[in-house]
Amino acid sequence: MISLTIDGVAVEVAEGASLLDACRAVAREQPTLCHAENLTPANACRVCVVELEGSRALVPACSREAEDGMVVATDSERVRHSRRMVLEFLASSTDLSLAGVDAWLEDYAADPGRYGPPAEASARDGRRPGHHPVPDGMRAETVAQDVKVDNDLYVRDYSRCILCYKCVDACGVDAQNTFAITVAGRGFDATISTEFAVALTASACVYCGNCIGVCPTGALMFRSEHELRAAGLWDEDAQSVTRTVCSYCGVGCNLELHVQENRIVKVTSPMDDDITSGHLCIKGRFGYDYVQELGDLATTPIDEVLAGVRGEGGTAAR
């Protein structure tokens, strides 16, 4: 066992545990964005930083291994400042409205407005590394851009993307081994992209949806959810989650069917599931049409889908 102190409280954790594990052992949950139990730590967001005695810089709790005798502070002025700034930087450049971070923004007193009014949406694919236009200082640059809707199953709204690397890792070595997406470009102009930013339909994507499952900000979203939100009909309070087992093959993946008004609106799998670790394939993730006469999302006009969801039969009522 490893002994250390977190905010003055002594704690013992197993060898190999992270500082985040140690914090949790003393019931001090830390904010995290790029960390997930089922992925290799990316260490990228830095919202989880803590102060470690003897270390010049703060360290990421999510990935720093606990060592004997460490003295860690999770709520010092330095920690709070860095977390405030990280949240402020993200909130001033990214649409965090679906990231579930409002409580942190408030707790850390983030003031994203102080960088000036946000710049308008612009094209962000294929920017040249090492070159950028001279800013005029009047607007705060953002990642705002058009939503990528290029297939029937899910959309990519990179205005919400915080570059946490989770989707890339889920698509790559951590789960799917498809390598359809990557971080492309450099610095603030980096994006999540397919090769040459081609549409998903022209890429290696196999629509397992594992990237959607890990995305913390809603940047990757079921098309059904996206359309319902756009129509103002998405209503999580009216949704129930039914746990079941995927019926396609013998593996036995656990599914969570999110149902709104008797329609499946998205499918997830629990992160702590022994078989899936939260990851699925296209069949479990998107192959639910046969249980409802929703029609093929590829061919059914969205009005009809929405009407169906509203229980208005086949009419295209608005």
Binding site: L90, S93, G137, R186, F188, T194, E195, F196
Partner: protein, 601 residues
Amino acid sequence: MDLRFLDAEASPEERDAIDAVVGPAEGSPGGPGLRVVRGGGEARSRRHLLLPALQAAQNRIGWISRGALDYICRRLSVPPADAYGVATFYGLLSVEERPPRVAHVCDDVACRGFGAADLIAGLEAELGPAGTDGGGISWMPSPCLGRCDRPPAVFFQLAGENDRARSAATVADVLAVLAGDTSPLLGAAVPQAGDPALRLLRRVGVADPTSLDAYRAHGGYEALPRAMELGSARIIDELETSGLRGRGGAAFPAAVKWRAVAGADERERYVICNADESEPGTFKDRVLMEGDPFAVVESLTIAGFAVGARRGYIYVRGEYPLAASRLVGAIEAARRGRLLGPSLLGSAVEFDIDVRRGAGAYICGEETALMNSIEGHRGEPRNKPPFPTSHGLFGKPTVVNNVETLANVLDIVTSGGRAFAATGTDRTTGTRLFCLSGAVARGGVYEVASGTTLGELIETGGGTRDGGEPAAILLGGAAGSFVGPDALAMPLSFEAAADRGVSLGSGAVVVFDAAADFGDLVRRIAAFFRDESCGQCVPCRVGTVRQEELFARHLASGEPLDAGLLSDISRVMSDASICGLGHTASGAVESAVALGLVEAT
């Protein structure tokens, strides 16, 4: 691994250029050989060829076409998205068609106030705005090109030809090279050349850098046999006695790294010479590599021998084509002389060196980013710990040293650590190279004993150009700090610098007089970090943007800069960033504010 490729095809020229790097294809191009996707260990073992292959494709036609990327991916079993992510990381690679002859014109700290503005205005008049296709030729602005002593500097990417660079460039020079002029573009960069007191620079400008015999005639390859006689343990003891500390910026004791790797449990180990020199204002490593390439090869060989590595890499900045070709020439000559290869000096010791070229990314000078770059990944720094001495290149124990650090090893081995430590101060031993540029009479690389004062160094370079006192001096480049004229009395030693709260960093000394436009300079430095941030972590990715915006706002509005906001940004970058780029991205701009060079609240 089941990979899906693009459906674009490479041209025969592109395929030839790529094959020259990755080896000939099995079977006919596009035939069965290409459908064989290698998985597992074999694919991993070839991934390190990705960047050289991308560079070959880029060099052949001036950009990386879909067909070329696809062909590379098939040959190396790399997913196309992955390769695209790597290609788009580097400033010198283009995944969009662009003119085959491009001039990259430095507009960085030591050039912009010293001729670059006129050069750029001239090129704009001749060729149009940056990036415009002027009939197969084009120009673009560039960060420091490591030729700051004779501004303005230009680097040329010429499809189908070797890259070229030129100092003190005029509009006519640039247009001539773009039009096909191939006359040599060299000039002396070492004003002290021939001075008998020189150590690191003793052969530069004196011995023919392309001749092994000339190197030997000037004391070369005396250290390697001596090192092999001493054996690993005693070499490292001498290194420790010498007190040699890293010259790449972090000033870490060299012996500590060597000892850790020499004592590692794993047998597979590497040594790397960090020759990515991209710190604005720095050009000493280029001068050493161009002027004394065998010394770099010999010292890296000693490092390899001492720590038990069988392979070394020299990672040379992409903008240094002459340095790279001189090193390749030296390595080939050394192999012929059994000074590299399976049997060093006829012994059972094996050691060889690969030269890798960077592709336009300052961050690849950070040691772990450099390793990722060699391995064929995006040049993103790794989180530390673990450190390279235990988990370095390909996950193996690795020593990374700067070119100048290594060059010192030769004298330490031949004359002993104590003799080396006799020069300099107690805690900063030996001599140091400083890169003098800006408003000075004679810019260039100067070798002085550690502890020489800043004022004495500038006097060695003939003083300021107008004979007056400098208005400010940028020490250590963009990652360093501005100091005022009161610092002229400061000894150039790690400890004196630390007492003042500054860092000597990479040895850059850019002198400014009253003619300097500090607001513009500081915004350029902020822009540099915004361009060069790898983008991995939020504090630096967004912080560098917000920092530049803050200076832009100050310049546009004429209002004093918001110092409180700058300090908030600076603190999170230095506290919570992953690597040294973020940690130092505010240093110079904050020092300018502290000195009153920029008006702030």
